[in-house]
């Protein structure tokens, strides 16, 4: 082969992002043809991935890996096996149709280029997600799908409902993203593997680990939020605020399937335990029925489809939970069938909405003659959804009933749930495909006519594929089902899919029962809806409202915390700050025995032996100490603020002089400047604050502040004395002394440390200094009001 598979696979995940960056420019230069031009990218990826069908069907696994963070053993690794290839083909294939469709759906929209860019970026994230082998890469792409989906749902950002839906989807799915990150980290701790394939090779290691339960909960939370499982399903119907192509792409075939993909991927390492089977079966089953019943309640075509998507996701999770060979086979076939028919139906609904101006099922009818191609597409999709023979939906249904062959109570219960769910889905499918097109013509807001080719070709093709996959059942089973099933189960499976109808089999009659019940639902749809809506109104509480309550509660809580901590009273801030400083100084000294090492007061005379005696102080050194003490006394006694500030400066200068006299010229130097500047700045601030000249405060305040000040002072003194009694560790000082000239070419060790040895620290510090300066300016200008902000600009202009 003339290409290197490694780089090409990496390109599959990166190319859509590049295309996304170029999309707005492409839209500007190519105008109406933009979507067709940009669709080349997903189409090329699809064709490229097709080349792997045969090698993968032959049992091959294709890997590619780029170094990412080698120090941590993290690589950007990709793996193509049956499962990831099935998902990647679905994503890129449907993605191509969606891009073309979007071009017509948003024709003339000012932000069409941006929209196409979002779609392509989302597709890249999704492809990366299903192809990654590294859990870190998986998490990264997982979060990227959440972010791009946020942008797509909120695309129509002028509407409040769209913004709310976007934030809701982001919050819920990011919750799962965090769980996934934690799960990946725990798995790494347990197995030392970032690679999923490596974890799979570890076999039972995860299941036997005591932390298996934790990993299970984390991964299930991730999958359940993304795949909208009950009770975290409420974000998905709201996400229908997005333009219809987005709903068709993200919320049927791809993003919501990420959770299903994750569960299938983790089956070999997490699956086949009681906890796994029970949890997935129960949550999947409840979600299936909840979604199917909720679909009946809707009158908006898109909402009906959204609710059936929740039901289908529940069905997929249920099948993964069962974990038998037949159940996994059914899961894979159903995933493909669902992607075809659900994307197709969404696109048809988009055409109806676009051409007729409404999606209300009760306000539509008789469109068949005006929109024959759309009707055909809807019918093709619906027969697969209902599961009539000769469709891939039929194969899926047969296989999932087959998985319940065991005649025990649990299987029968699951079987009943499946039949009920499938029947409800079939009824809704019939309603969506038949109601708008048949019956008497109903006047619609727009004069309905057939949609453009770009919009009708996609759903037609998807509908036809649902039939074609069934007609080529042998090939389909060989290249899709067998490799994907093998990847999920970890052992080779054989496809026994067949189109033949066998009236002697109980499975056939179960199908017939499903169709009959589906037909009943279809005919009684209006009555059922009215009944369910009445029941709903009686309930009065939804998960959606619960989400709002939780969010507003969170905002109120953080507001209360902020008001408690950030009350805006400077005096109290300082009291808390210095009180804690005093505690931090004194508590360790007292409780950890720091005071014991201090020499007893009687031995203070010993300092003379350390080479530092009282008599060694010269007269001018005594003078400096005296200045410092005088400064302090005046500071405490001062009635006038200005005098206090100045005497504080005097005391500081005296300390700086002490530094200078005892051999720390650099420190002294800096201390001088800091003292001068703080006196200047404090004075200016004081004049700005327009306070009384005198500081009159109640006695108890002075007592409190004085106590804290004395405690801080005593604490620092004791701390320093304690440090001085210990032996000084000279290793660092010696190192700097001996090396500063030979390797750093400087004699001033303090400066050499600042700019060379620890230059990186200094770089951080000067950035902080600047950031603090910006903050101070913002504070000053914020008080001054809007006119003051413009001042420096005016001054600059005048200078020119």
């Amino acid at each position: 082969m003339g290409y290197s598979p490694e780089t090409s696979i990496v390109l599959v995940a990166i190319a859509p992002f590049l295309a996304a960056i170029l999309a707005p420019a492409t839209a500007r230069f190519t105008g109406k043809a933009a979507a067709w031009v940009l669709a080349i990218v997903p189409a090329a990826i699809f064709v490229f991935l097709l080349r792997f069908l045969e090698p993968v069907a032959g049992g091959g696994v294709i890997r590619a890996s780029l170094e990412w963070a080698p120090a941590y053993g993290i690589a950007l690794s990709f793996l193509i096996d049956g499962l990831s290839l099935t998902f990647a083909l679905t994503i890129s294939g449907i993605g191509t149709l969606i891009v073309v469709y979007s071009g017509a759906y948003l024709a003339g929209h000012p932000h069409q280029g941006r929209f196409l860019g979002f779609i392509l970026a989302f597709m890249g994230a999704m492809l990366g997600l299903v192809l990654s082998d590294s859990t870190v890469a998986l998490f990264t792409f997982w979060e990227l799908t959440s972010v791009t989906s946020f942008l797509l749902i909120g695309f129509d950002h002028a509407r409040q409902a769209a913004r709310r839906a976007a934030i809701q989807a982001l919050v819920v799915t990011n919750l799962g993203g965090l769980a996934l990150l934690l799960g990946a980290l725990v798995v790494y701790q347990m197995t030392g593997q970032w690679e999923l394939s490596g974890v799979r090779e570890a076999g039972d290691a995860l299941r036997e680990n005591p932390f298996y339960g934790l990993v299970l909960v984390l991964f299930l939370l991730a999958a359940f939020t993304k795949s909208a499982q009950f009770p975290l399903h409420f974000w998905l119907p709201n996400a229908m605020e997005a333009p219809t192509p987005v709903s068709a792409f993200l919320h049927s075939a791809t993003m919501v399937q990420a959770g299903v993909y994750l569960l299938a991927r983790m089956t070999p390492v997490l699956g086949d335990t009681v906890a796994w089977t029970t949890t997935l079966t129960v949550f999947g089953g409840v979600t299936l029925l909840w979604g199917a019943v909720a679909a009946i309640k809707q009158i908006d075509l898109k909402q009906m489809l959204a609710q059936t998507t929740i039901a289908s996701l529940g069905l997929l999770v249920l099948l993964i939970g069962q974990g038998s060979e037949a159940a996994i086979a059914a899961m894979i076939v159903y995933f493909v069938a669902h992607a075809f028919y659900k994307a197709g139906l969404f696109l048809v609904v988009g055409v109806i909405d676009h051409e007729a101006g409404t999606r209300d099922i009760t306000a539509l009818g008789g469109l068949m003659r005006r929109m024959p191609a759309s009707f055909l597409a809807a019918a093709l999709a619906a027969v697969s959804m209902i599961g009539l023979p000769l469709t891939v939906g039929y194969l899926a249904k047969e296989e999932m009933y087959l998985a319940q062959a065991e005649p025990d109570a649990a299987s029968l219960l699951v079987l009943a749930a499946m039949i009920a769910g499938n029947a409800l889905l079939a009824g809704v499918g019939m309603a969506v495909a038949v109601r708008p097109f048949t019956g008497p013509m109903v006047e619609t807001p727009k004069h309905a006519h057939e949609g453009p080719v770009a919009m009708v070709a996609g759903p037609l093709l998807l509908g036809a594929l649902g039939i074609a996959a069934a007609l080529t059942v042998g090939w389909f089973g060989h290249v899709i089902l067998e490799p994907a099933g093998t990847a999920v189960l970890g052992l080779p499976i054989e496809s026994h899919l067949t189109l033949a109808l066998n009236p002697a089999s109980v499975l056939f009659w179960l199908s017939v029962l499903t169709w009959a019940l589906g037909g009943l639902v279809f005919y009684q749809l209006d009555a059922l809806r009215a009944f369910l809506r009445r029941a709903d109104a009686g309930l009065g509480w939804t998960f959606d409202k619960g989400f709002d309550a939780a969010m507003f509660g969170l905002i109120r809580f953080s507001g209360a915390v902020t008001r408690f901590l950030h009350h805006g009273r400077l005096e109290l801030y300082l009291v808390v700050l210095f009180a804690f400083l005093a505690l931090a100084l004194l508590v360790p000294l007292v409780s950890l025995g720091g005071l014991d090492v201090l020499p007893p007061f009687a031995s203070f005379g010993d300092w003379a032996t350390a080479g530092w005696s009282w008599s060694a102080l010269t007269i001018y050194e005594w003078a400096v100490v005296a200045i410092a003490i005088i400064g302090l006394v005046v500071l405490v006694a001062a009635q006038n603020r200005l005098v206090a500030i100045l005497s504080l400066g005097v005391q500081g200068i005296a300390v700086a002089l002490l530094f200078l006299l005892f051999g720390a010229p650099d420190l002294a130097f800096t201390q001088f400047m800091v003292e001068i500047l703080s006196v200047v700045i404090l004075t200016m601030v004081m004049t700005r604050l327009k306070l009384d000249e005198r500081d009159r405060r109640p006695f108890e305040d002075a007592l409190r502040d004085g106590t804290i000040a004395v405690l801080c002072g005593v604490g620092v003194t004791l701390l320093l004395s304690t440090i001085l009694t210990g032996t000084l560790d000279m290793r660092l000082s010696d190192f700097f002394l001996t090396t500063s000239v030979p390797i750093a070419h400087g004699h001033n060790i303090v400066n050499v440390i600042l700019v060379d040895y620890r230059g990186f620290d200094t770089l951080g510090e000067i950035s902080v200094v600047m950031a603090a300066g910006i903050a101070i300016l913002a504070l000053i200008r914020g008080q001054r009001g809007a006119t003051g902000v413009a001042k420096p600009k005016r001054a600059r202009r005048a200078a020119k």
Binding site: I681, V755, L763, I766, M770
Partner: protein, 142 residues
Amino acid sequence: MNTVIFRTIAPLIVAIMAVFSIYILLRGHNEPGGGFIGGLIAASAIAILGMSSSVGEVRRALKFDPLAYAGFGVFIAGLSGLASLFIDAPFMTSIWLYLELEGTEVALSTPMVFDIGVYFVVFGTFSAVALALEDERDGGED
């Protein structure tokens, strides 16, 4: 503050302080001094200038917004660290260059550039704060 004596002598003090600050900055590697202290001296000079004349005049004399000086400082400090990329060494590895100029040895180095960056950050930030405070004191008369 605005006595005649102060106003007359301030430019002289400021000029001496500015030159002194650069001297302190450059000798810092071998003698007491360095970018931080040099920057503080220069900022004090600006503060004195602001007191003796008007803040507007000082801003005009500076040409750029004081914070722009600070930003420039962070920028060249970071840049001096990147120079080591060219000799394939880790970030902020120091590079030294000794020039013989008419018998005097002049040492140029990336730590020196870094120190100049520190000087600008300290100078810019403290001048910005001091000028903003003085601006208010002047009552925005500029």
